[in-house]
């Protein structure tokens, strides 16, 4: 039982990170309708920015904020230069995939050019210590991840439900043409969406880097977990990203305990989840059903 609780705690901590990456993916899907295959690479890039700021002597929490600002700028720039000219992603799926794949390659290579090909050690935001609750050891880093995720959800909720910018972003997501007609500056808001997504990704990267080592391939597995999270939760549902992230985190942590085949293939349950959801319930748990017009 204790063993189960132990892996459950680990799973929730991992799940929080998947949810963070998922939130970024959802923000982009809601506003621009595309699946951003470069989201993980953007997160990796801004984690490197964080590392650079931290290395010159800035305390880590401040460095993370700096990395988020850097990520925001990179994300916004990428939207303006590469994504905006594309048009509707669902009308040109191949072009959309190719552009995000191009970004994937480009950002990955750029990180190697700037920071070299050797992995860097990355400190834990909440330190190495842990507390023992009822016989189960819980690392502060895991508790921190859940708290940060909660804070992030709160900020998002406030932004989307209580501010004018958030209202405008929701208008763009629900019907960009009508939004433009009533004077909403659609392209600028899409840019904001990309920036926000990249900023959120930074935090996911900061929580992944201490375990894997900071290198240019940092987020390639995490990205699939993030996609599994939002596939399960529904591509356009922030709540879904959080719930989906938790489910994926717990599944990939608990399953290998009972089915040793998954021990080194923690990706496999995530893959099966993606496939099954897309086949049998493409809108996920909380997503809106897509209606296709002929």
């Amino acid at each position: 039982m204790n063993n189960f609780l132990q892996v459950l705690v680990v799973g929730i901590g991992d799940g929080a990170v998947y949810a963070m990456l998922g939130l970024g993916l959802v923000v982009i899907y809601r506003s621009t309708g595309l699946l951003n295959f470069a989201q993980g690479e953007l997160a990796m890039f801004s984690t490197f920015i964080t590392w650079t700021i931290w290395e010159v002597g800035v305390p880590l929490p401040l460095a993370v904020l700096g990395g988020m600002v850097g990520g925001f700028l990179v994300g916004a720039l990428i939207h303006q230069v590469a994504v905006r000219p594309l048009g509707d992603p669902h009308l040109r799926p191949l072009a959309t995939v190719i552009v995000t794949i191009g970004l994937f390659l480009g950002v990955n290579g750029a990180a190697q050019l700037i920071w070299g090909t050797l992995d860097k050690d990355f400190p834990k935001l909440f330190g190495e210590s842990q507390v023992t609750v009822g016989g189960v050891a819980v690392a502060w880093q895991k508790i921190g991840a859940v708290l940060v995720l909660a804070l992030m959800v709160l900020v998002f909720w406030f932004l989307f439900q209580r501010t004018k910018v958030g209202l405008a972003m929701r208008a763009v997501a629900s019907n960009s043409e009508s939004a433009a007609l009533v004077g909403v500056p659609v392209p600028r808001l899409l840019m904001l969406g990309w920036g926000l997504a990249a900023a959120v990704g930074t935090v996911a990267g900061v929580f992944t880097a201490p375990n894997l080592g900071l290198g240019s391939n940092l987020m390639q597995l995490t990205l699939i977990f993030g996609f599994a999270a939002i596939t399960l939760g529904g591509f356009d549902s922030p709540l879904g990203a959080v719930v989906g992230g938790m489910v994926v985190g717990i599944l990939t942590s608990v399953l290998p305990q009972y089915l040793p085949i998954f021990e080194k293939m923690r990706l496999a349950p995530a893959f099966i989840l993606i496939l099954a959801v897309l086949l049998f319930r493409p809108q996920g748990l909380f997503g809106r059903k897509q209606v296709e017009r002929v």
């Binding site: 191949l94 190719i98 480009g106 950002v107 290579g109 190697q112 390639q220 990706l267 086949l279």
Partner: protein
């Protein structure tokens, strides 16, 4: 897109025939002009070209986006390697078996792809590509695990039969082993491209394009959409498998690290830069990619090596936004502009001549 054989002028036919003759001559004399390591690099470009040709059939002509063809390339490579090394099969049958195995795997992947489309199919295939090397590492008994598998066959060596890495022994003394290997791979590559060309020009090829352009309209017009899509996935995967077999035979070794998500991306790069939905496009793209990675990149100082993916990534985005037809598309635009100008000047001449008459 391209002009059909019937409405070409004799002059165009001559130019076309001449171009192909020149290409054939270049392809044939290339291995005699370069050192062995280069010839082996050319062989790996052919492997990429064949796999890209398969991906193009699926993604370019049929509109089903796969970011996972690197995995099928890997299945082909591992099938060949395992059959030769563990089951003692000869080279050619194992390469054919690789195609068959990949065809079956492709059909299996093609079934869910009937329901999962567009960006979502890209997502699923991306996950397949990421998962593939991890699966390979799970079965070290068969695949050699993370250390990879040397492709060996038992041979008499200093009086003892031992497992030695496979080599391509040339039947004549006029050709070195690597040259013989090159010509064998070239024959396979040309065969794959010719088959693909014939398929695209057949009834099934027209069905592929019809489905890509409007699935409902194709269905209404009597195209058996499900059958065609599944078959396309199978054939496309079989070609990726042949590419993988060439790759494995060329290196006499397979490693899980050779079949990561990056390979899938490079295949897409080859298709898109060369020209999606054209026959020669993927071959051009594969050569362009090969020149970048094997010639340009190694000549850069070590610190600047990662510049290659940056350039390729930027190239991909710029091409997609400005010339979605790739190199072939650019050539076509150029040619039609030239023709339009010639037509216009001929028209001017006629107009100038008219009053005098």
């Amino acid at each position: 897109m391209s002009t059909s054989a019937h409405d070409r002028t004799p002059q165009q036919r001559w130019v076309r025939g001449g171009t192909w003759l020149a290409v054939a001559v270049v392809l044939l004399i290339v291995p005699t002009q370069f050192p062995q390591f280069r010839v082996e690099q050319f062989c790996s470009w052919m492997a990429l070209a064949v796999a890209a040709c398969g991906l193009n059939l699926l993604t370019g002509y049929n509109g089903q986006i796969s970011v996972g063809h690197g995995a099928l390339y890997g299945v082909g490579a591992y099938t060949t390697a395992i059959l030769i090394t563990k089951a003692g099969w000869p080279i050619l049958p194992s390469a054919v078996a690789a195609a068959v195995v990949c065809f079956v795997v492709g059909v299996v992947i093609g079934l869910p792809a009937l329901r999962i489309k567009g960006l979502y199919l890209a997502l699923v295939t991306l996950a397949v590509a990421t998962l593939f090397p991890l699966v390979i590492e799970q079965f070290p008994g068969l695949t050699g695990g993370g250390n990879g598998l040397a492709i060996t066959s038992p041979r008499l060596y200093r009086g003892v039969v031992r497992d030695k890495p496979i080599v391509f022994e040339s039947p004549t003394s006029a050709l070195a082993g690597d040259q013989w290997k090159y010509y064998l791979f070239l024959a396979a590559t040309v065969l794959c491209f010719l088959l693909t060309r014939n398929l695209v020009h057949s009834r099934m090829g027209r069905s592929l394009v019809a489905i890509r352009d409007n699935e409902t309209a194709a269905e209404v017009s009597g195209v058996p959409v499900a059958t065609v899509k599944i078959l396309t996935f199978g054939i496309s995967s079989a070609l990726a498998g042949v590419g993988g077999a060439i790759f494995a035979l060329n290196n006499a070794r397979v490693n899980p690290s050779s079949f990561t998500i990056v390979v899938s991306i490079y295949l897409l790069v080859a298709v898109v830069t060369g020209g999606a939905a054209s026959i020669v496009g993927p071959a051009l793209g594969a050569v362009l990619f090969g020149v970048f990675t094997d010639v340009v990149s190694p000549s850069l100082p070590a610190r600047l090596q990662p510049a290659t993916p940056v350039i390729l990534g930027v190239l991909l985005i710029v091409l997609m936004l400005t010339a979605p037809g790739g190199l072939v598309g650019i050539a076509q635009t150029f040619r039609s502009r030239l023709a339009a100008r010639r037509l216009r000047s001929a028209g001017d001449g006629a107009a100038g001549a008219a009053p005098a008459a």
